[in-house]
């Protein structure tokens, strides 16, 4: 690194991501990680409650119905869905699939990811609700 390059220290605000909507969307997607981690905690609390018996399960249900928790989970849901949608839309760029020597078009790739998402969701919903 040259002498002048070492002297050059670009100044960047901590709030650089507020300057453009795309930057903001990027940081919001990054923040989805916090809500992913939160939901894993919630999921494990649920599993533990069921493991401890019917009374604990009922207690979990009562706790889960508290307004602040529902509000938190609605926000978390929006972030997790945002993560899922950007992931699905990114797939055609991350993965190029060839079928009989021809490249599968991007929109078709994204569509198949959405179908897969739907199938997995249906199976999980069936497992939970019965």
């Amino acid at each position: 690194m040259s002498y002048f390059a070492r002297l050059y220290k670009p100044r960047m605000s901590v709030f650089w991501w507020m300057s453009r909507p795309t930057y903001l969307m990027f940081v919001l997607r990054e923040l989805s990680s916090v809500f992913v981690a939160w939901f894993i905690v919630y999921l494990l609390l649920f599993a533990r409650a069921v493991g401890q018996g019917p009374e604990q399960y009922q207690r979990f249900l009562d706790w889960a119905a508290s307004p602040w928790l529902i509000a938190l989970n609605i926000v978390a849901f929006l972030f997790v869905v945002y993560h899922a949608i950007t992931f699905a839309n990114l797939t055609p760029q991350a993965m190029v699939v060839k079928l009989r020597g021809r490249t599968v078009p991007g929109p078709l790739m994204a569509a198949s990811v959405y179908v897969g998402w739907l199938v997995v969701s249906a199976i999980l919903a069936w497992l939970v609700v019965g």
Binding site: L44, V50, G51, L61, A64, H83, W117, S121, V128
Partner: protein
């Protein structure tokens, strides 16, 4: 960045990406049902016996541990770079990375304990 230096980074990115896929496919529906629809009464709370039977199936135990572990690794990696870029805390990367991945591994271990010893 050193050119040919061997680092663990590619594997962390692999975990991030794999965990992102798992989280995207499985978390929205689970969060909607367990966190919103059932607490609000849109859907009747599942019968206890049914849930206990589902959760005690070996594949469910394993599945929940995989979902938890991979989602947490994904989240840890993303949070590390959020702090790195978003809040410009790059110089503390060693500490941040240790705390993030350490928490993810602890969470994964806890998930295994809950699913195989408590449930």
């Amino acid at each position: 960045m050193a050119g040919n230096k061997k680092t663990i980074e590619p594997f962390l990115w692999l975990g991030f990406s794999g965990g992102g896929v798992v989280a995207a496919l499985t978390l929205p529906v689970l969060l909607f049902l367990l966190g919103i629809a059932i607490p609000l009464g849109w859907i009747a709370a599942p019968d206890y016996a049914h849930l206990a039977a589902v959760l005690r199936h070996p594949l469910t135990r394993l599945g929940v541990v995989v979902i938890a572990a991979m989602s947490l690794i994904h989240a840890a990696h993303r949070l590390r770079f959020t702090l790195h870029d978003g809040l410009k805390l790059g110089k503390y990367d060693a500490v941040i990375a240790t705390v993030c991945y350490g928490a993810a591994l602890a969470g994964a271990a806890l998930a295994a304990y809950i699913m195989f010893a408590v449930v």
